[in-house]
Structure formats: structure tokens, C-alpha cells
């Protein structure tokens, strides 16, 4: 084990997979000579050269489509979006080309390709740089969606995503890049897609979440513990494939659940999780499942408004108290 940042963990995953497989290459804006807008690709140009670490023009649709075509022909591209907010320009190639190619060609063209970059809000980046984009990709069959919260998860899941033979939207967090944690150094350290991680155990309520909201959930669980409430914090880690067994196991234990996500509530990730819980564990529930999400507004710039808009540990605590029928309603 080594202690490294989330950024370094991603860098190690890229480096190891590029060393292992000559068909893996990285393309995106500022990934090469600039060493990455967030330095995730630091040193890769020096090691692998401009053939495999490629600075693209600012043409999200174009270079995404190029990489989808390269994947169709048998390469294994990793596309870096400076943020998934910019990938709206490219989503046609993800949804209409990458996600459907295998199906509409009747299995002739597997599409091993990773689209990666930060999703969600950072600090005061306002409306056009703060969207949590998971749900746009989750909606479409044919794309896997991965949202690591910790450095170890980032490394193990990115390696699994690069080795996967389907398109993967790999969604990081700008605010996570400096987070440190223990990371296995083994080159074959892989976290299989589709396995949730119970990051904290408790028996009174299930806080289910993904991505960087895992930290908000953990903060809320710590606060609840002081009030004598034990919370499961279940980090889904991958949203498709989805570890439904882990969700149901936690809910069957606690009989109460809150979903925490960074995105908007309407038709968000939590809406699907709630649907699954009510379909498959209705009799185990002692309270409605609640969601804590971003305010249903574009992200404002002003610091006070941004704070109000984001999900917070206090809001999670409040939601947990409601499903426990404790205190003010």
C-alpha cells in the first residue's frame, strides 16, 4: 500500500494500463504538453510519446467521435474531458455511436472506450461548470457509469474500466483530486465494476450515495453517531452495472434509506434507486425513502447561494431524522 492522491491514483492506473496494452491511448484537451488540466496525465507524454498521449483541438464532438471510431477499429481509447460539462458537445457520439454500435451491428463491433473527467461542482464555478452529469449517461443502455470516491477506488475502477469491452463514462470529482488515501500498488489491483462498498456500518438507517457525496454521507453518519444513530454508508461506486444486492441488503437491515447525490432530483440517480427499493424491498421499509440532492436550480456563483444549493451533511442528517421519525418534521 502507498498513500497517494486521487489524482496520482488515476495517473498510476493510466500508466499501468498503457504499459500493459499498446492499444490504449489517451486523447483530450491539454493532456500532453500541459500535463493535464488537472495533472491527471502528468508525465505520460514523457513516457509514452505524442502518438499515445495526444493533445486534441478544442473539438469535443470531433475528438470523441474520432476515439469512438478508433475503438470500433480495435483500439482502446481513453478520452479525457476537461469536465463532463463540456461533454454535452460530444454526447451524440457517446450515446448515438458508442453505446449503440454493438447492438445495431448485431455484435460485430465491441466498443472498448473510456470517457473520463470530472463531473459535478467544484468551488464557485457557477452554472456551466458545475453540473453532475451522471444521469445523462445512465439513461442509455450500452454505457457503463463509474463514479469513484476514494484514491483506491479511482485506481482499481479506472483499470477495470480500461479493460472493459464496453463504453464507460468514468466520472471523477475536481474536488477529489487532492484527496489522499491508501492505494494498493499491485499492477493487477482491479476493482470489478458493479460492486458497491459499504464505507461505514450502522443498523438504523442506510445512507446510499455515489461519487464525492460519499464524503458528505460519511460526515452525516459521524454526526448521527453522536446522536446515537448508526448509519450504513453505502457507496455504489458504479451506477451501471449497479450493485442492487448491496442496496437491498442494507435496506433490509435498516428498513430506512436516504439517497444522496450531487445532481438534480428530477429523474436523477436517486429516483431510480428509490424505484428499485420500492419495487424489490417494499415490505422491508418502515418509512418513505428520501433524497438529498442539489437545489433544483442552475448552480449560482455567489458563495452563500452555492452552499445553499449543494447537498450538505446537515441536510442528510435532517433527511435521516425524518425517515427515523425523529425530531422536527
Amino acid at each position: 500500500m502507498a498513500v497517494m492522491t486521487y489524482r496520482e491514483a488515476l495517473n498510476a492506473a493510466l500508466r499501468e494500463e498503457m504499459e500493459r496494452d499498446p492499444d490504449v491511448f489517451l486523447m483530450g484537451e491539454e493532456v500532453a504538453e500541459y500535463d493535464g488540466a488537472y495533472k491527471v496525465s502528468k508525465g505520460l507524454l514523457a513516457q509514452f510519446g505524442p502518438r499515445r498521449v495526444v493533445d486534441s483541438p478544442i473539438s469535443e464532438l470531433g475528438f470523441t467521435g474520432l476515439c469512438v471510431g478508433a475503438s470500433m477499429a480495435g483500439l482502446r481509447p481513453v478520452v479525457e474531458f476537461m469536465t463532463f460539462n463540456f461533454a454535452f458537445l460530444a454526447i451524440d457520439q457517446v450515446i448515438n455511436s458508442a453505446a449503440k454500435m454493438l447492438y445495431m451491428s448485431n455484435g460485430q463491433f465491441p466498443m472498448p472506450i473510456v470517457f473520463r473527467g470530472p463531473t459535478g461542482a467544484a468551488l464557485q464555478l457557477s452554472a456551466q461548470h458545475s453540473i453532475a452529469c451522471e444521469t445523462y449517461y445512465l439513461h442509455s443502455p450500452g454505457v457503463k457509469v463509474v463514479t469513484p470516491a476514494t484514491p483506491a477506488d479511482a485506481k482499481g475502477l479506472l483499470k477495470a474500466s480500461i479493460r472493459d469491452n464496453d463504453p464507460v463514462a468514468f466520472m471523477e470529482g475536481e474536488l477529489l483530486y487532492n484527496f489522499k488515501g491508501e492505494v494498493p500498488e499491485d499492477e493487477d489491483f482491479i476493482i470489478p465494476l458493479g460492486l458497491a462498498d459499504l464505507k461505514r456500518e450502522g443498523s438504523d438507517v442506510s445512507i446510499i450515495t455515489h461519487g464525492k457525496m460519499a464524503y458528505v454521507a460519511l460526515q452525516a453518519a459521524a454526526k448521527l453517531e453522536k446522536e446515537g444513530i448508526g448509519a450504513d454508508v453505502l457507496d455504489l461506486r458504479t451506477l451501471r452495472p449497479l450493485d442492487v444486492d448491496a442496496i437491498l441488503a442494507s435496506v433490509r437491515k435498516t428498513n430506512r434509506a436516504v439517497y444522496v447525490e450531487e445532481g438534480w432530483s428530477h429523474v436523477g440517480v436517486g429516483a431510480q434507486i428509490v424505484a428499485i427499493i420500492q419495487e424489490e424491498a417494499f415490505d422491508d421499509l418502515d418509512a418513505p425513502v428520501l433524497r438529498v440532492t442539489q437545489a433544483d436550480v442552475p448552480m449560482p456563483y455567489a458563495k452563500n447561494l452555492e452552499t445553499m444549493a449543494k447537498p450538505s451533511a446537515d441536510r442528510v442528517v435532517e433527511a435521516c431524522n425524518r425517515v427515523l421519525y425523529r425530531g422536527a418534521r
Partner: protein, 359 residues
């Protein structure tokens, strides 16, 4: 058409074979090909009219010279990718007529197992890469195919077809720019039939087609796609240049669509007058033009032409019979090939129908 005597056209000189370096034997092969495309599409038209083919169906009738002239000079390892008017391009690249027709019929034996349809013909074995339904979306894909050729230091080229309307999409411009800066072996071909559905090109572009690639430093050329010999020679020479590391090229192939945009549309109408369609159909039929050249040069007689045409009709009929007799995809096909990798953990499918192999 083939059996109709029409007036000999200007340009139908025997010298054309020499001028373009296309032997009369090869020219006869091109005629055979174009007859197949024509009869195939007519059969598809007929099948659509009686409900055997559904959805959208965009016929290539009138544009056969483009498919034959630009694809026949290629090698098997070269890639061809196109938009949704691609039946005959698939045939030209080597997809079997029965495989294309069965796809139009939505049958399990179709090129894409009946799951793609008219707009999504794929055949990996002959490197026919689709069949794409979003205008211009195949252009970056083609650029990626060319990227792979360069990445793996292979010898192939990519021929990417698009309609004239596609050049107004951002995907086109972004792709040409990248192909130019990375010197990719791609030939971007505008099959310029002058109308994007019902919108004349001159209404949506102030500049001419051949100017479209100049901002990116890509050489452009124009060729008459109704003249299959000229088109063949053009692409033969161009493929050699691009294969030799000459970087990408842009070609404006002038052609004309003899039918409506799709089977749901009228042949002429508010956007193009009937007399224009009639004139083009009678004076610029690529099959008639080549036939007359072969006649004039003494390389073909009426009996031989009729034999070729009979062969084409029989091939189209055989394809239709095959499609008709083929089964539709089985119920298992519904969930097949959504995913290439079935992860051992987690749920991939959420419709709750319980028939998915992934739970």
C-alpha cells in the same frame, strides 16, 4: 434504362477508356456492378411499397456511379463508412446482396441481424463500417478509423461518404481539422446530389462545395459521379496518394438523386421541379452513359447488355427471395449485444421484465 434505346450522349467516346486508364473489361465490370445496384434498389422500392420493408428507406438510384467508381478501386483492407443512403455502397464493398436485403426486411440473416435496418448496415469482414443515421456523425468515426490505420502503421485508407448537407455540421469541420493536423489517411467524399432532403445546397451555403475543406489545408477535387470511368480513375489515383502518406483529401462528387429523399417522399415537388428531375434522369443516368460508351467502342452489344441485366435482376430477386424466406430475429435477440462485457457483479438492465440474461 438498359433495354431502352436512347440518344447517344456527348462524352460517350471510346477514348474515355484510354483517357481514364480503365480497360473495357473493367468498364464492363463496373456496368455489371451498377446494374446490380439499380436492380437491387428497384427491388427494395417494390418491397417497401408492399410493406416488406419498414421504417426509413433511402434509395441510391441515380447515384450508382459514385458507389462503383469510388469503392471498386479500393483494397479489401480499406475501410468504407457512410451515412444512411448506403445500401449500394455496402454492395460495392462486398457485402452480399442477400445480406443487405435481409437487413432491409428486418431478418435474422441480415448484415446486422435485423437490428439495424436500412440505415445501419454493418459488415466487419469486408470493413463496411455502417450505416449511420445522424447527419455527419460518421465523419469523426471515419477520422478515428484513419487514426487507427496510422496508429498501427498500416497501409489502408478510409473512404467516408456523406451527403452535401453534412458539410454544415460541426462534426465535419472538427474532423477535417484533426485529419489535416495529424495527416490521416482519409478521403472525405461528399456525394453531392444538391439537396439535403428538400433543401438546396445553394440555400444553406454561400461558398461552393469544393471550398469547404480549404480552411483546414486539405486539397479538394471535384468529379462527375455520373461518369463512372472518371470517378473510378479519380479515386484510384487519390487512394494511391493517400495510401502513400499524402494526408487526407476532400472530394466533391457531383451526382443526382432520381428518387425522393426517402421512400416516404415524392420524387419531385416544392423543392425541385419535375422538369429538372426528368432532365437529369434522362440525360445523366450513369448506367446509360457507360452503356453507350461500351456500345460506341464496340465492347458491348445489346445481347450482352441484356444478359448482364438479367443477371442483375436475378441477383436482386434472389436477394429478395432469401430475405423473404429468412426468419425474423428470435426473441433472444432483443437483449443480445447490448453489452460486450457481462460483469459478474451488478445489474445492467433495469426494465424489470425478468427476461434479461443479466437478471
Amino acid at each position: 434504362m438498359a433495354q431502352t434505346k436512347t440518344k447517344r450522349k456527348a462524352g460517350g467516346s471510346a477514348d474515355a477508356f484510354e483517357e481514364y486508364g480503365v480497360s473495357p473489361e473493367l468498364a464492363r465490370d463496373l456496368l455489371r456492378e451498377m446494374l446490380l445496384y439499380r436492380r437491387f434498389e428497384e427491388k427494395a422500392e417494390e418491397a417497401y411499397a408492399i410493406g416488406k420493408i419498414g421504417g426509413f428507406c433511402h434509395l441510391h438510384i441515380g447515384q450508382e456511379g459514385v458507389a462503383a467508381g469510388s469503392i471498386k478501386p479500393l483494397r479489401p483492407e480499406d475501410y468504407v463508412i457512410s451515412a444512411y443512403r448506403e445500401h449500394t455502397q455496402a454492395l460495392a464493398k462486398g457485402v452480399k446482396p442477400r445480406s443487405v436485403m435481409a437487413e432491409l426486411y428486418g431478418r435474422a440473416t441480415g448484415a446486422s441481424g435485423g437490428k439495424g435496418g436500412s440505415m445501419h448496415i454493418f459488415d466487419r469482414d469486408v470493413r463496411f463500417m455502417g450505416g449511420h443515421g445522424i447527419v455527419g456523425a460518421q465523419v469523426p468515426l471515419a477520422t478515428g478509423l484513419a487514426w487507427k490505420i496510422k496508429y498501427r502503421e498500416e497501409d489502408g485508407v478510409v473512404v467516408c461518404f456523406m451527403g452535401d448537407a453534412a458539410v454544415n455540421q460541426g462534426a465535419f469541420h472538427e474532423s477535417l481539422n484533426m485529419a489535416a493536423i495529424w495527416e490521416l489517411p482519409a478521403i472525405y467524399v461528399v456525394e453531392n446530389n444538391h439537396y439535403g432532403m428538400g433543401t438546396a445546397f445553394r440555400r444553406v451555403s454561400l461558398i461552393d462545395m469544393v471550398e469547404k475543406s480549404s480552411p483546414y489545408g486539405i486539397s479538394a477535387s471535384s468529379v462527375n459521379g455520373q461518369d463512372v470511368l472518371a470517378t473510378y480513375a479519380h479515386f484510384r489515383d487519390l487512394a494511391a496518394v493517400v495510401r502513400g502518406g499524402g494526408g487526407p483529401r476532400f472530394v466533391d462528387v457531383q451526382t443526382y438523386r432520381f428518387r425522393g429523399h426517402s421512400m416516404s417522399d415524392p420524387v419531385s415537388g416544392t423543392y425541385r421541379p419535375k422538369h429538372e428531375v426528368d432532365r437529369k434522369t434522362h440525360e445523366e443516368d450513369p448506367i446509360v452513359l457507360l452503356r453507350d460508351r461500351l456500345f460506341d467502342g464496340g465492347h458491348l452489344d445489346q445481347a450482352e447488355l441484356e444478359a448482364l441485366d438479367t443477371e442483375a435482376r436475378e441477383a436482386a430477386q434472389e436477394a429478395a427471395d432469401f430475405a423473404d424466406q429468412s426468419p425474423p430475429p428470435g426473441p433472444d435477440a432483443l437483449y443480445a449485444n447490448v453489452w460486450a462485457e457481462i460483469n459478474p457483479h451488478g445489474r445492467l438492465n433495469f426494465d424489470g421484465r425478468g427476461v434479461s440474461p443479466w437478471r
